[in-house]
């Protein structure tokens, strides 16, 4: 274990020197400062575990220094021991302890044993944070060694497969080389090879290649080209055959293979729990590969499309009151800020620069909650923001609002659901979870008359009672019951989806939407759910073309994952979207693609003939005297 580091802030050099010597003999690393400025300089270079501060110093006093330090560097975690030979009366000491949140106060002259007891006592109290929390805090460090990554990944017993985008990003951002093996509960293993931060291979047990569908949808080849290539008598893979037959360029194949990796990576992100193992190793950089830049858009896509809002809410409940700290790389022109999730939230970048909290952001009425959680998770995943280690509230009202929201979030939940939503199921007694609960609720209000006081205790007791009421055996039983319930809900939701699909085919959009919404409430893991939602909304909105509804539909479309896009349905719905936005040429292309994937799809045939008529009609209405020059040339050229 690393040795604890102590800063002694004391202008009496003899005292500080003798204190330092005694502490060094006990294996502590000690640094010394005689003024607040000097201490600030040292703290810029050193991370300390304890600060021994003399209250009466020249210039800024020790207690003022501590208050300022805690305010300026809220993410720093250290314990303060105040010292004074002057302030010795009880009420002053109590006031100093309150204001500085110091752990102890030493009246000078003091006994060295007193010091050792304080440090020892505190060492024993320090509890490690949960590995998952540490994982999401990893970008708060400037440098992450391979060993640290490996240790952190190892320390997590099991992780949700929804955490995988973060792990992929971590390994990419930190330029890792090696193999990440992902073990599923059904004994299947998937693996991802990283070479200096680039993903060079993705291996999943489902070996569907999608290559044909991907090529057709990307517009590189037609179904006829694929048939032709398949007829050629050689043992090459489809892509190679298309290249050999001069039906496609090698570059198109590379791009499609990258998209194939994206689809496979997307498939690993699911509601399952997984175990992970990362073994650092030299891996050759082969092409095609997914580098950090490309991964950015995929991460955005996965977070927008694969992560359920409830999972994100549960993840971030532990940080709702923590300050969001922007990384130095987070600039307004950073590519992440330009991505649609972030762009959909006006002024988010500015708010982040002001070190806001999630709790504050949730109170911004114009923000779509799902988009907010997803945008923040995207930035956390890219290491552009992280949460301070301690909960911070500017004032009592803010703390009260945060606690009220938390209360709403956990009310009507059973004890087990409550603990699961707060990530506290691993605790078997409230005592051992006390520091974690305090981190969650924020600092215990000192004044009884503060309005947050009663609420804080109500929540503390509710959570503590929930922990104490459940023994490990009961938790296993409850988890099983929840899983059974979820499975039943999935079946009901699938039935509703099937009914909705039939209604969509018959053009009964409103009734289909009702059923889809019902299904969505039952489970968040329905295949192509958002495609059907978008279809029904587009169907209902095709005549009115309401802009606000179109914006909501755009968010539905953003939530369609890569692995759900490669059949006829996605291009069909995209065609409807383009039609609704009056982009008839794109609509035609999309319907063409849908029919290329399935030429028996009647709805697409119908839409295609409709859109062709619309295009003709638009062209008839073309007036060369009011057109752009480019369009004039096009019209004249076509007429000719």
């Amino acid at each position: 274990m690393a040795r604890s580091k102590i800063l002694i802030l004391e202008d009496d050099k003899t005292l500080s020197q003798s204190l330092a010597e005694a502490l060094e003999k006990k294996s502590f690393d000690v640094i010394m400062a005689s003024t607040a400025d000097e201490a600030n300089g040292l703290l810029n270079e050193h991370k300390v575990d304890y600060i021994f501060a003399d209250c009466l110093l020249p210039g800024m006093s020790g207690d003022e220094f501590v208050i300022k330090l805690k305010r300026d560097k809220p993410d720093r975690k250290f314990k303060v021991i105040l010292m004074s030979g002057i302030y010795t009366d009880k009420s002053t000491i109590q006031d100093l302890l309150k204001r500085t949140q110091a752990f102890a106060f030493l009246k000078k002259p003091f006994d060295l044993e007193q010091i050792f007891n304080i440090v020892k006592e505190k060492e024993e109290v320090v509890k490690p944070e949960s590995p998952r929390k540490m994982l999401y805090q990893i970008f708060s460090k400037d440098m992450v060694s391979t060993r640290e990554k490996r240790k952190l990944i190892e320390s997590i017993e099991e992780v949700s497969a929804y955490d995988l985008p973060f792990i992929y990003s971590l390994l990419t951002e930190t330029k890792s080389s090696g193999y990440l093996n992902i073990y599923f509960n059904d004994s299947s293993v998937s693996g991802i090879a990283f070479s200096n931060g680039s993903i060079v291979a993705v291996d999943v047990e489902d070996r569907s290649t999608y290559i044909g569908e991907l090529l057709i949808q990307s517009g590189y080849v037609s179904p006829a080209d694929i048939q032709k290539a398949l007829q050629s008598k050689n043992n090459q893979r489809l892509g190679q055959r298309l290249i050999s037959s001069n039906l496609m360029s090698p570059h198109a194949l590379d791009l499609t293979m990258i998209e194939q990796m994206n689809v496979r990576l997307s498939k690993t992100i699911s509601e399952k729990t997984v175990k992970l193992n990362f073994s650092a190793s030299e891996v050759e950089l082969t092409q095609p590969s997914i580098d950090s830049e490309l991964l950015l858009s995929y991460l955005h896509d996965w977070i927008a499309s694969k992560l359920p809002i409830n999972w994100l809410k549960n993840l971030y409940v532990m940080w709702a009151g923590h300050q969001i700290i922007p990384n130095a790389q987070l600039k307004s022109d950073h590519p992440c800020i330009q991505m649609s999730l972030v762009q959909s939230l006006d002024g988010l970048y500015d708010r982040l620069q002001k070190r806001t909290t999630l709790s504050e952001l949730l109170s911004v009425s114009e923000y779509n909650q799902a988009a907010l959680y997803k945008a923040l998770h995207f930035l956390v995943t890219k290491g552009l923001i992280y949460f301070s280690k301690n909960v911070s509230f500017d004032n009592v009202d803010e703390h009260f609002d945060y606690l009220s929201r938390l209360k709403n979030q956990i009310q009507n939940r059973t004890d087990f659901e409550l603990l699961e939503s707060l990530g506290l199921t691993q605790y078997n007694d409230a005592e051992s979870a006390a520091s974690e609960i305090e981190t969650l609720l924020g600092q215990e209000p000192i004044k009884k008359e503060a309005k947050s006081f009663a609420l804080w205790y109500e929540l503390f007791n509710k959570i503590s009672t929930a922990i104490n009421s459940l023994n490990p055996e009961a938790k296993i039983q409850l988890k099983k019951a929840i899983e059974k319930n979820e499975a039943e809900n999935r079946i009901k939701a699938s039935q509703l989806m099937d009914e909705a699909k039939k209604e969509l085919m018959l053009g009964q959009f409103q009734s289909a939407l009702v059923k889809l919404n019902e299904a969505g409430k039952l489970t968040s893991t329905l295949f192509q759910y958002n495609i059907y939602i978008a279809w029904s909304r587009l169907g209902m909105n095709m005549q009115k073309k309401d802009k606000a509804v179109i914006k909501e539909i755009e968010f539905d479309l953003m939530q369609i994952p890569a692995d759900e896009r490669y059949d006829f349905l996605y291009p069909y719905v995209m065609g409807l979207y383009y039609r609704a936005t009056n982009d008839y040429l794109s609509a035609k292309k999309s319907f063409d693609k849908a029919l290329a994937m399935d030429n028996t799809f009647l709805a697409a045939k119908r839409e295609l003939s409709l859109i062709e008529q619309m295009i003709k009609k638009t062209r008839k209405n073309d007036n060369i005297f009011t057109m752009d020059l480019k369009d004039v040339v096009t019209v004249l050229f076509k007429k000719k």
């Binding site: 193999y179 998937s190 193992n277 073994s279 190793s281």
Partner: protein, 157 residues
């Protein structure tokens, strides 16, 4: 050294199999037949890494002669991780006779792998780590694994 090497030293119905390098999708185990061997000792000392394809191929390969008695020796951490996490990576009739445990010194950042042998550092009664592990300049080193997780495979048998 090439990416993967495998040597089989057969002696009557027993074989010593030495494997080195990376076990991945490029490894074709079908060329190394295990039929007719009743006792196999796998020396895995020089296995550098294994990916998910390699894990599947390994299990499939050992499955071609599931009745043979198998022992693994000099297992690096990467192999122990797979034994702990993947059912069948060490067949039910297989045993680990020796494996490496990583040690680390926080101050110097030195890493070292210490070989734990059956009957010396571990056995049926549990694990008895060496009293003191020192790095090259005499610093005391600590075990660099989560013991409850790393030694889990010893309880399986």
């Amino acid at each position: 050294m090439s990416k993967f090497e495998l040597k089989i030293d057969k002696n009557a119905d027993a074989a010593k199999i030495v494997i080195a390098g990376t076990i991945d999708e490029d490894v074709d185990f079908t060329q190394y037949s295990l039929t007719g061997i009743n006792q196999m000792e796998f020396d895995l000392n020089s296995v550098k890494s294994i990916n998910s394809c390699g894990i599947r191929e390994w299990i499939k390969w050992l499955g071609t002669n599931s009745k043979a008695k198998m022992t693994y020796i000099n297992c690096p951490k990467i192999i122990i991780d797979q034994i702990n996490m993947v059912d069948g990576f060490l067949p039910s009739n297989g045993r680990v006779l020796s494996f490496y445990v990583p040690y680390y010194n926080d101050d110097s950042g030195t890493e070292k792998n210490v070989l734990f042998r059956h009957g010396t550092e571990f056995g049926e009664a549990g694990v008895t780590p060496p009293g003191k592990v020192l790095d090259d300049i005499g610093n005391a080193m600590e075990m660099d694994v989560i013991e409850s997780k790393y030694f889990k495979f010893l309880n399986k048998k």
